[in-house]
């Protein structure tokens, strides 16, 4: 068992020293986006992967997080670090209110309800200049007031600070994800995914277990929203409360591997650069070509790896280990 644990440490060490060798702020910015999407995908995975509920409205919580911290910062001067937690809690609270009725729906009806509610929130933020009396500027979007280099205001000239914050957030959410997966809750969620009635007759409180997972998922998604706001320094309802963002969170998990700790990370690690590259190389030519190519890659990934990349990588690792000279493969060891 101990051997397996070495790999994450190597990956983490590599991720920590990586910015030292990269000077281009464009690449750092891209790396931050990969980390952020990996983080969001990992958060989504708790309800979409472990609990098997395909929510396509998770941008709602990202938006709540972004708007909460931004309003607190621009109106009251509250540090985004505090706004982050407040936004997380508000996002979690909202997810319970949304989840309670939606969890009564099954399969695609649940998904449709989450999309509908996302659009409701988005339209409210687009058309109203004030939400609960706080200025949010409607469809114009909000700029985060510039404070210069300031840790309290979570604003940095050097993008590397954002890199390390995003990395720390990702590590935390992965640890949480691992705890959820390997605890009682993980077993209960896995049971709920396949058969709610059977789970219930074994003493699983199905609604409460799902709401717990939903809260954790939304809490972390909302925190990611605050980080996004501080990184881009501008938020507007079409992006941070958008269907695209919701879809991306789900997509990275589905391609990477649902209900696994590493799947969402692998998904983001593969797809964000592919998306970037197709856009930068093909985006200038035929209009829409980049999207077509990106779409084909996604379709191929789902067709050939319906259970995600993570499982295939594991098989590959086992295969390589068995071919390594001087090592007795596990099978031979047993025989």
């Amino acid at each position: 068992m101990k051997k397996i644990k070495i790999l994450p440490i190597i990956i983490l060490a590599f991720a920590v020293i990586l910015p030292v060798f990269v000077s281009s702020s464009y690449i750092i910015q891209s790396l931050v986006m990969i980390l952020l999407y990996a983080y969001w995908a990992s958060s989504w995975n708790i309800i979409g992967g472990y609990a098997g509920h395909l929510s396509l409205g998770h941008a709602t919580y990202a938006g709540i997080g972004a708007y909460t911290s931004t309003v607190l910062f621009s109106t009251f001067g509250v540090s985004p670090w505090i706004g982050m937690l407040v936004g997380g809690l508000l996002g979690g609270l909202l997810s319970i209110i949304i989840g309670y009725p939606c969890f009564k729906l099954k399969g695609s009806y649940f998904t449709l309800a989450t999309i509908a509610l996302l659009y409701v929130v988005q339209i409210v933020f687009m058309s109203e200049d004030k939400i609960f009396g706080f200025t949010t500027n409607g469809a114009m979007g909000m700029s985060i007031p510039l404070k210069g280099e300031s840790f309290v205001a979570m604003q940095f000239m050097d993008k590397r600070y954002y890199y390390y914050i995003a990395l720390a957030m990702l590590v935390i959410v992965m640890i949480v994800s691992n705890i959820v997966k390997s605890s009682k809750m993980g077993y209960y969620l896995a049971a709920i995914t396949t058969n709610q009635d059977a789970a219930s007759s074994l003493g699983v409180n199905v609604p409460v277990t799902k709401l717990k997972a939903q809260f954790i998922s939304a809490f972390f998604t909302a925190i990611g929203g605050t980080f996004y706001a501080q990184l881009i320094m501008f938020i507007d309802p079409t992006r941070i409360l958008g269907y695209d963002l919701s879809l991306q969170m789900a997509m990275f998990v589905i391609i990477g591997g649902r209900a696994t700790v590493w799947g969402p990370v692998i998904g983001a690690l593969m797809l964000v650069p592919i998306n970037e590259l197709t856009r930068s190389y093909l985006g200038a030519g035929q209009a829409g070509l980049s999207v077509v190519v990106y779409g084909i890659i996604l379709m191929a990934a789902i067709y050939f790896m319906p259970f995600g990349i993570e499982g295939h990588l594991k098989k590959l690792a086992i295969f390589i280990r068995s071919k390594l000279p001087g090592k007795i493969s596990q099978k031979e060891g047993i025989q």
Binding site: S183, K184, Y188, A190, A191, D197, S200, S201, L202, G203
Partner: protein, 247 residues
């Protein structure tokens, strides 16, 4: 038989699905340590009765008492926590989990600790002779193993009463024999058993008492030999003609 022995009492229980009365004014009781058989033709309402006792269905009227507590309107997870577990006629394994993990879902009811749940689940699998399949996926099992997995999941919740819904259906005679022995073992370990079964030979040899259902009504109750010779039971099972011929 005094009242304190009766751990489960069902009084005037009725379930209507629209115009159809699935269970009509059923009364029954279960003593601690008994094996109770439930027989009846398909559609007689046996599974509906189980569904109401286990909390999956809400009855239209009537009460269910467990240790003199009213559990009529509890949800199924609450009923399970009280100490009544059930299996499903159509096996319901968690296909993405192994046999051990399936069973752990049940044993988590009394613990939050993964290792404790694993130990408990392993004990149950050992008891049912499934421990050699502990790491097989739920989707890779034979029917006989799946039926035992159903029992394992329910037993892992440490129930006082276990409701077994056709755990022998579709099994060959040898496997049936194994299950009969298992059910006796379950009772001997202190769990009261309610069993729905069509395999008459098994139910006759197992049950202390039998309830016979016909079209939602309990038409007979008593010791096996006695019950199967009653005219109304023969009529419901074999028809009027057979009864008249004296089969």
């Amino acid at each position: 038989m005094n009242n304190c022995n009766k751990i489960l009492i069902v009084e005037n229980l009725t379930k209507k699905f629209g115009g159809l009365t699935a269970i009509d004014n059923a009364n029954l009781y279960v003593n601690k340590g008994e094996i109770i058989g439930m027989i009846g033709a398909n559609g007689a309402g046996k599974t509906t009765l189980f569904n109401m006792i286990s909390g999956a269905f809400q009855p239209t009227s009537g009460t269910i008492l467990f240790h003199d507590m009213n559990i009529t309107h509890l949800k199924s997870h609450q009923v399970c926590k009280m100490g009544i577990a059930r299996t499903y006629q159509i096996v319901q394994p968690f296909e993405n989990l192994t046999v051990l993990e399936n069973t752990m879902v049940g044993s988590f009811i009394h613990t939050g600790d993964v290792n404790a749940a694993k130990v408990k689940a392993m004990d149950v699998l050992q008891f049912l002779g499934l421990s050699n399949r502990a790491h097989a996926k739920g989707s890779d099992l034979t029917l006989s193993e799946l039926k035992r997995l159903e029992m394992a999941k329910a037993l892992a919740t440490n129930p006082e009463i276990i409701l077994l819904d056709e755990v022998m259906a579709g099994l060959n005679p040898t496997s049936c024999g194994t299950v009969v022995e298992l059910i006796k073992k379950i009772r001997d370990s202190g769990t009261t058993v309610l069993v729905i079964e069509h395999v008459m030979k098994a139910i006759m040899s197992l049950s202390d008492r039998i309830y016979v259902l016909n079209q939602g009504r309990i038409i007979a109750e008593g010791v096996p030999q006695d019950v199967v010779n009653r005219p109304e039971v023969i009529k419901s099972y074999l028809g009027e003609k057979a009864y008249a011929k004296g089969i």
